[in-house]
Symmetry: C2
Subunit: 200 residues, 2 copies
Amino acid sequence: MTKAPTRIQQRNQAAILSAGLDVFSQYGFRGTTLDQIAEAAGLSKPNLLYYFPSKEAIHTALLERLLENWLDPLKALDAAGDPVQELTAYVRRKLALSKDFPRESRLFANEILQGAPWIEDILRNDLKRLVDEKAAIIQGWADAGKIAPVDPYHLIFSIWALTQHYADFDVQVRAVLGDRAPYDGAALFLDQLYRKLLGS
Amino acid sequence: MTKAPTRIQQRNQAAILSAGLDVFSQYGFRGTTLDQIAEAAGLSKPNLLYYFPSKEAIHTALLERLLENWLDPLKALDAAGDPVQELTAYVRRKLALSKDFPRESRLFANEILQGAPWIEDILRNDLKRLVDEKAAIIQGWADAGKIAPVDPYHLIFSIWALTQHYADFDVQVRAVLGDRAPYDGAALFLDQLYRKLLGS
DNA sequence: CGTTCTTTTGACCGTTTGGTCAAACCAAGA
DNA sequence: TCTTGGTTTGACCAAACGGTCAAAAGAACG
């Protein structure tokens, strides 16, 4: 029987995970130091290591928490729903994820850029299976004439690329747009784009 | 008068830059070590530092070389050309860049993820000016009814996102696609997408 | 051959890194 | 109040880090 966590434990573990997310999502695993995380969390380094046994443990905890919800928007794509509505709703959910959890998106991007050393088998198994399944649904819609014929895999890639871009390349987007807010325009643009592509 | 580089200098400098590109594009600046670069280049660490004075010098040289060509495809967008052809040609050029220089694309992605500490002012000045200029051209095309009305900034972002995705998220794309080659399908998909969006 | 200039290397240095540990601190209940 | 268990810390360690340097090795050319 595991002990229930005290209030202090909850607070400090949450602070460490948030600080770790800040730093890991910017600098990747190897570019991140425990001192950086400790300072961002407002703890001393030994105190940090009292809650997590190692740097890798913090990173793993973050990746696991991320993967729990990362695939949910795609899972929700329903074969029984209206095709164009299902797909534009998926785009909206993914864009909301980028807007509300940009650090998580960048953590994922960093992991992929490094060659996905921790989640490679998840990509090859869980992710591939899920995408194959949903791609089949999309292909079915196309075959039935409910949407324009498109390559379902590249359609899914395009949704990932377009939505995550606003989180991962946030600095560049803001440098170009200046004061203008990115996400309102993005939502409109993406809705327009996919309606035209799929043929509403 | 500067001395002409010897053959050995040319070979070793090229080897160092290529090795540095390999490592920096995977692990970012802070996550990369001189020993990693030295080993990948087949040189000892002191020998490496005989050709470049510091780790940062290698990184800077790579970023400068990258920026020299990075904006060229957008610069080539011609107001006098046929709008849809100009834009789809831009997409093709960017996609070719991702295919032929994926490490450079990942180096850029890493720099942006880290908050663009080295190129922030280039983004805010050179890049912003260039995008403003080309966005005005696109807006002009839309106003003249030559293409469907779209937000020109998000249109450009979408081209960046979609093309660079195949280089930056290469591991994920390949994990999902298996053996199938990504770039042929991508080229077809992107051509289809932008023709429909812009209304040919 | 000998000389000169370039290239390479082993040994080294100070700092940073991930991580340990014993001791001190502190909150809370008996 | 005292005790007990969770929490915090300063001091410390070995390894890895970016970088230096003098000396050795090698190329080039008369």
